[in-house]
């Protein structure tokens, strides 16, 4: 099976080359038979990549340590689950994983849109195949997962214990699923540019795949944050590290696109802008992979430096050059069909939303590559850290949060005073009430107060929308509140799914603002000794050390300190911080000891205990961190996922097909729209 896998990888490369050549030729010569062959080539590539992947999985699960990739990523006593995930824990495997997802996506996208987008198919297929050629060739020539060792090691090197966590098992594949999905809109954008068929037809495909990309990037990023928080033991979840940033960048531009496409659908505006966003999202995905793989930027994430970096760099510049040429020569085909009519309108709100999202993306990109830029400029490598990103992104993010409330409710074209009063009076009062309540409660920090006030405002707009919608359904269909709610969301998934995503965004912002009140305490306790401290809410905590214990497991030795915890005199239970030393099947130590924080979560705050060191048999050094509102971040992530799923649900597609390119249609009356009929 391993041999079949290796051979399949080479066949896949040939198939992808054929698919690219035949499809482009079919498109250029208008020969349908060539195009059909190219499409079959894409399907065949997918089958071959599946076989290659099956080969690698077989090698891993059969623990065949003669394969270098297996020997360097797992050890025999690891659970099968993590051996399965070792597929994408190294460079060679993750490139194969890229190819697997891309060929799968490509097959689905071409198979489902073939009938509708006849003109676009040859160019889209060719572009997808070209990207596949790049990934598979890199895998074959530069990082082959099937390379054999010239000896048979007794055991492998094992997996870094920090990666042996469910969050890390699912975080990379989700990010990959998100990154790779940007290739489909890119391929269709290139096809539309080539053929100059830049009307509505390519948008439907593109929007669906942009949603897929957004959905998985969201999951991937939130899982990555969660993993960093529960596994790395530094008490935070986001450090503005270059690798984190590079996953955030395509998310920002895809989010911008999902908003601006609505303006194109309804009003025929922003046509150039949307093409650019689609292309940039893909380029940023490649750029992100390039950064993580090349080591050009210092990052704690840096992977082994390898020639793959140069390949990615070349590919990135080729793709950028091609798209700049294509967009540049097709500007006239992309003229807007309508003009902005008023600054107080939904169009303007969405334009600013896009400006802010892209502005944030630019600032993040700038901060990420600044060490390289400054070195080019004057030979000094200058790095910027979290203070830079916070200084720029907090104000921009808060403006964006405000627009999250305004955008969906303000009238199209030109909002009347009456419209503004009807939609925003109650939410604005709610926002001010939140600010007043916080001031009364004694909060004085400006940024958090503004954040919570805006959260209140946006929550008000969303609550009002659901309230009005359900009431309208009750009036028209005589339904119960619960049934009305379900029908309301079900009949208009795109709109109400979007509100649910926004509700998740509010929770994220609320959680981020909680960081302002984080507090840390470094303590040393011997058995029986107690530490007392007040949390940010002013509640009294008492931690009593239960001493240090050591226990032996099949694959690790665990050192733990237990803290008996009381809040305002009430016993809450034990929080344990651990240090783990992982062992291979021969009892040799693998990697450094890893820290396992003990976390007690509640809606108000997390109590986070890290065992920093053991001084003698019963004296432990610890760091206790009070992290307010961290669970809000995870809950917000869940809500965004649920909202995203609702928006992606297939029925929404049919509705859009009816709505079509509605620049000329008058806006629908609001009552009917609210009732979702």
């Amino acid at each position: 099976m391993i041999l079949i896998g290796e051979l399949s990888l080479w066949v896949a490369l040939l198939m992808a080359v054929w698919s690219m050549t035949a499809s482009y030729a079919g498109g250029a010569l208008r020969r349908d038979d060539l195009t059909a062959s190219g499409v079959r080539g894409l399907y065949a590539t997918f089958v071959m990549v599946v076989l290659a992947s099956a080969g690698l999985w077989t090698a891993l699960l059969s623990r065949d340590f003669s394969v270098e990739y297996v020997a360097s990523h797992i050890s025999a006593n690891m659970p099968n689950f993590y051996i399965f995930t070792a597929f994408w824990s190294g460079q060679a495997g993750s490139l194969l994983f890229w190819a697997l997802i891309l060929s799968m996506y490509g097959t689905i996208a071409i198979a489902t849109s073939r009938a509708r987008n006849r003109e676009l198919v040859p160019w889209a297929t060719g572009t997808l195949a070209a990207i596949l050629v790049f990934f598979i060739a890199t895998d074959c020539f530069k990082a082959n997962p099937f390379t054999r060792l010239d000896f048979l090691p007794a055991d492998g090197r094992g997996m870094n214990p920090q990666l042996q966590n469910p969050g890390m098992a699912f975080h990379p594949p989700n990010l990959y699923l998100g990154y790779v999905a940007t290739a489909i809109p890119f391929a269709f954008a290139v096809a539309a540019l080539f053929t100059r068929r830049l009307d509505a037809e390519w948008l439907a495909v593109v929007r669906r795949w942009a949603l897929v990309s957004w959905f998985f990037l969201t999951i991937g990023i939130v899982l990555g944050m969660w993993w960093a928080y529960v596994e790395l033991g530094w008490g935070g979840y986001w450090a503005w590290d270059p690798v984190e940033n590079s996953s955030f960048l395509p998310w920002l531009t895809t989010t911008a696109f999902l908003h601006s496409i609505m303006i194109q659908e309804k009003r025929g505006m922003l046509r150039k802008w949307n093409v650019v966003l689609v292309v940039v999202s893909f380029l940023l995905s490649i750029f992100g992979t390039f950064i993580t793989r090349s080591g050009v930027i210092e990052s704690v994430h840096s992977f082994a430096q390898s020639p793959v970096g140069t390949w990615f760099g070349t590919f990135f510049f080729l793709a950028t050059g091609l798209t700049i040429y294509l967009v540049g020569t097709r500007l006239r085909d992309l003229e807007a069909r309508a003009e902005l009519e008023s600054m107080v309108s939904r169009e303007a709100a969405f334009l600013y939303n896009n400006l802010l999202l892209v502005g944030i993306a630019f600032a993040v990109l700038w901060g990420t590559v600044f060490p390289i830029l400054s070195e080019w400029w004057n030979g000094n490598k200058i790095t910027v850290g979290p203070p830079f990103f916070n200084a720029v992104n907090i104000p921009l993010g808060l403006l964006l949060l405000a627009l999250t409330g305004v955008g969906p409710l303000i009238a199209w074209r030109r909002a009347s005073v009456d419209n503004l009063k009807r939609q925003f009076l109650t939410p604005a009062i709610l926002g001010l009430a939140v600010a007043a309540a916080l001031l009364v409660a004694g909060m004085r920090a400006l940024a958090p107060i503004v954040t919570y006030a805006l959260c209140g405002f946006v929550a008000g707009t969303i609550g009002q929308e659901f309230y009005k919608g359900v009431r309208a359904r009750q009036a028209i269909h005589n339904e119960s509140i619960f049934k009305g709610f379900i029908h309301l969301v079900g009949r208009n998934r795109r709109r109400y799914g979007g509100y649910i995503v926004h509700a998740g965004v509010i929770m994220l912002f609320a959680g981020f603002a909680g960081l302002a009140f984080k507090s840390e305490h470094d303590i040393t306790l011997s058995t029986g000794q107690a530490f007392e401290v007040r949390d940010p809410y002013g509640r009294q905590w008492r931690f009593v050390s239960q001493g240090v214990s050591t226990s032996q497991r099949p694959d690790r030795v665990v050192q733990a300190v237990g803290l008996e915890t009381f809040r305002d005199g009430k016993r809450l239970g034990l929080i344990a911080g651990e240090k783990r030393q992982y062992l291979d099947s021969q009892g040799n130590e693998l990697f450094n000891p890893s820290t396992e924080p003990g976390i007690r979560s509640s809606a108000k705050l997390d109590t986070y205990v890290v065992l920093a060191g053991v001084r003698s048999s019963d004296v432990a050094e610890m760091r206790i961190t009070f992290n307010p509102l961290v669970t809000w971040v995870w809950t917000g992530g869940y809500l965004m996922m649920i909202g995203g799923l609702i928006v992606m649900w297939p029925q929404a597609e049919r509705r859009r097909a009816q709505a079509g390119y509605a620049a000329v249609l008058p806006p629908r009356p609001e009552a009917a729209e609210l009732a979702g009929v």
Partner: protein
């Protein structure tokens, strides 16, 4: 004024503020990222350089890590092959911090030639995989096999 013009003015305003924030915060928070050799050259050219916060990327000298038993203080040496200097760090060291690992230390160079770090990042070469060459030679399995004469 046309709405389009108004939008462009508003947009320019937003971007201008963002650009100003970026420029000013780079000035305030940007720090030099140097190798020990570069740092030594800078210090020689301009002794007041010691007052500036900097980051140094280097490798931990094997066997040089000394942990203060009474607290969270670490003393160790870093090198880039040609220049070596001592570092003192107070705080919790990351799990990956050990001999021969690449680290980034942030802080100030003292006049006594000791770097006082307030930030310590360790890049674990084996975090995902080791350097391509010799990768498997560091596997315990390989060592065991080599020890028993199988390799």
């Amino acid at each position: 004024m046309k709405p389009r013009t108004k939008f462009i003015i508003g947009g320019a305003l937003v971007l201008g503020v963002a650009g100003y924030l970026m420029a000013s915060s780079i000035k305030q928070t940007g720090v030099y990222y140097l190798t020990p050799t570069e740092l030594a050259a800078k210090m020689q050219a301009d002794p007041t350089f010691a007052n500036a916060g900097i980051k140094v990327g280097a490798r931990v000298v094997p066997g040089s890590i000394h942990r203060d038993p009474g607290g969270r203080e670490y003393a160790f040496q870093v090198t880039d092959g040609s220049k070596t200097f001592p570092v003192v760090y107070r705080g919790i060291a990351p799990d990956t911090f050990t001999d021969s690992v690449d680290v980034v230390v942030g802080g100030r160079m003292g006049t006594d030639g000791t770097f006082r770090a307030t930030e310590l990042l360790a890049k674990c070469a084996s975090r995902y995989e080791n350097a391509p060459e010799n990768k498997y030679k560091q596997t315990p399995g390989y060592k065991a096999a080599a020890g028993s004469g199988r390799a």
